[in-house]
Symmetry: C2
Subunit: 387 residues, 2 copies
Amino acid sequence: MVTYIFTLLLIVCNFFIIFTLEPVKLGILLPSNSKFPFSIVKVVPAIDLALEHVNRSGLLPNHILIKNVRDSNCSETIGPLEAIDLYVKREVNVFIGPVCDYAVAPVARFAPYWSIPVISAGAPVKAFDDKSEYKTLTRIQGSYGKNADFLWEITRTFNWSTIGLLFNDNHKVEMGKTDNFFTMEPIYHMFKEKTGYEPYFKAFDEKYPLTYDIEDLLYTASMNARIVVLCASADSVRDILIKAHELNFDNGEYVFLNIDLFSSKNDSEKPWYRAGDTDERNSKAMKAYEALMTVTLRKPTSKEYKNFSMEVKRRAKEKNVNFTYGEEEVNSFVGAFHDAVILYALALNETLAANKSITDGAEITNRMWNRTFEGIYRQTIAANGDI
Amino acid sequence: MVTYIFTLLLIVCNFFIIFTLEPVKLGILLPSNSKFPFSIVKVVPAIDLALEHVNRSGLLPNHILIKNVRDSNCSETIGPLEAIDLYVKREVNVFIGPVCDYAVAPVARFAPYWSIPVISAGAPVKAFDDKSEYKTLTRIQGSYGKNADFLWEITRTFNWSTIGLLFNDNHKVEMGKTDNFFTMEPIYHMFKEKTGYEPYFKAFDEKYPLTYDIEDLLYTASMNARIVVLCASADSVRDILIKAHELNFDNGEYVFLNIDLFSSKNDSEKPWYRAGDTDERNSKAMKAYEALMTVTLRKPTSKEYKNFSMEVKRRAKEKNVNFTYGEEEVNSFVGAFHDAVILYALALNETLAANKSITDGAEITNRMWNRTFEGIYRQTIAANGDI
């Protein structure tokens, strides 16, 4: 009987605590389709970890973080509509995501007018550098602009002068530009600005393989540059490199760089191999890849990161028995979104301590910028709100 | 005393009628900046005329049309935000506007999910042809696609085979494409599709006159085509034509076509003349313009149209004493938006008669398509929702 009363008391107390805590609502906007490395099933377990950590830590003693997860569908329509719905129903204090450029653009345009911060591990296109338009957007993972900086440094290190760009893009203007185009865009502009010459570039539309000839692409590129930067699907890159091998372009005269920022580890560990292809082509591909340097996002190798990764995968499996993570370690979006929650909680804590409100999105955003903090990664957000 | 009671009764009756009528809310999304031919001050008086006409006509006996006017700012941010606000506050049954492509795109993407029709005299870019995405969008004025059809017909009539395109566009990708680009895009694709050859094209950025040389532009174009299609600001077109005159390109060997769909009449009646320029250049320009054919939107010449135009201008002046309309007749957007209200009222009447609801945006949209009706213009909306 005493145990019973005690248990009841405990439950009542818990309810009391929960109901007196002010909720902090994370509006999670990610795609449900698990083909994306930043899908709900892959990322939300990491957000849960961060959320539980913050709630346990006492960082926000009068608040409790809760999440409202919506399917952004990686869509310029559904993403913003879900954001609008969260806003209208007062179910969001901070948007976590979207990732896809076309989905995040309207959300990050509207958010300053709603005074709501947006934290994304995506939104990599250069347009989002302009924080006079995207006032409350914080980017917690590398952007295409940062990648261009990095590529520039590589070419300085090896003393390479002339680069050429080969990339996949949509022929049809109404389809918009591809991620590959947006990756190349700041590289082109950076080299043009720094060196004065215009890098050679050629786009092909890999949806229509009959509209271009890889041999032509390679010959023309080779007449303009010794350093060829590729940005396309893994299969297209492989086809180009096999052809390069056949044409003896992997003789040391040429260097191929592949920009593949967001691939999962499985994809990029043995990128030359295709189970369905012939031994001969796989062998050619393997040789050709020796002339290839791939630029991708760094992942930590620490024990903490391994544990984090294991726990995220365990939770993902627990919630979705039919889902297999498949990657050795979780991809870089997973850690970045975990850290987005930590960063927001730190900034909110300071904002409240300064007697400002949770509804002051500009203030909270301001406190997220120009700071270093410890999440899964040791993160530094620059004064411009980007990592 | 009797008069007093009678008047009181009349007022009470009026109130009673007004309050028993169900409001039909037109959400008007137009820019307040009067530099636009489709600005609030220019267009709303015409919408008022249409609205009063419908309310008097008995077409919707149990309803009363009212308008909620918002400043779209011709902006991809403010336009959608105002649309969202109207939707959330239940102040809109139909969106009239926006016009600007980047402003109307998100609104027309969201509207099907809100089940609200959108009628625009703008949204001319080819992307809006795709009604599987923009399900409730009706375009009541010519699109760039229609313009390409027309240009194709002209070239067939005169038996011209090879065209070249010279147009203004933004160098910087992050600034998006210009209206001039979007005008040229379907022309390029249509000629490529119909003839198999790719029309010569060259973009210049008129914001940076030092980045291009008009003489070069003309020489290169002349090596590729005898029919040169121009699309740029009136001043750029004039500069190009003066240079063409100096180079003797107006000797009958070449034809210049100028696409200038939305200019007001004042702009286009004496387009060669600039008060601030020298007599010599004005005279050169006048001669050069003899080799120029300008494609623009047709306006009716009927007495009804003249009366409509006068009444719109009178009302505009009445409401904004500081505003001078300045055009001989109101521009084509004004008539088109008037007709948008008539079209919506006709479709709503039929929808209600069929026992369907005013909230059934798909049904109302469906009844606006594939029909001919009398507004200020005699309008025919095709089965695809475009004029």
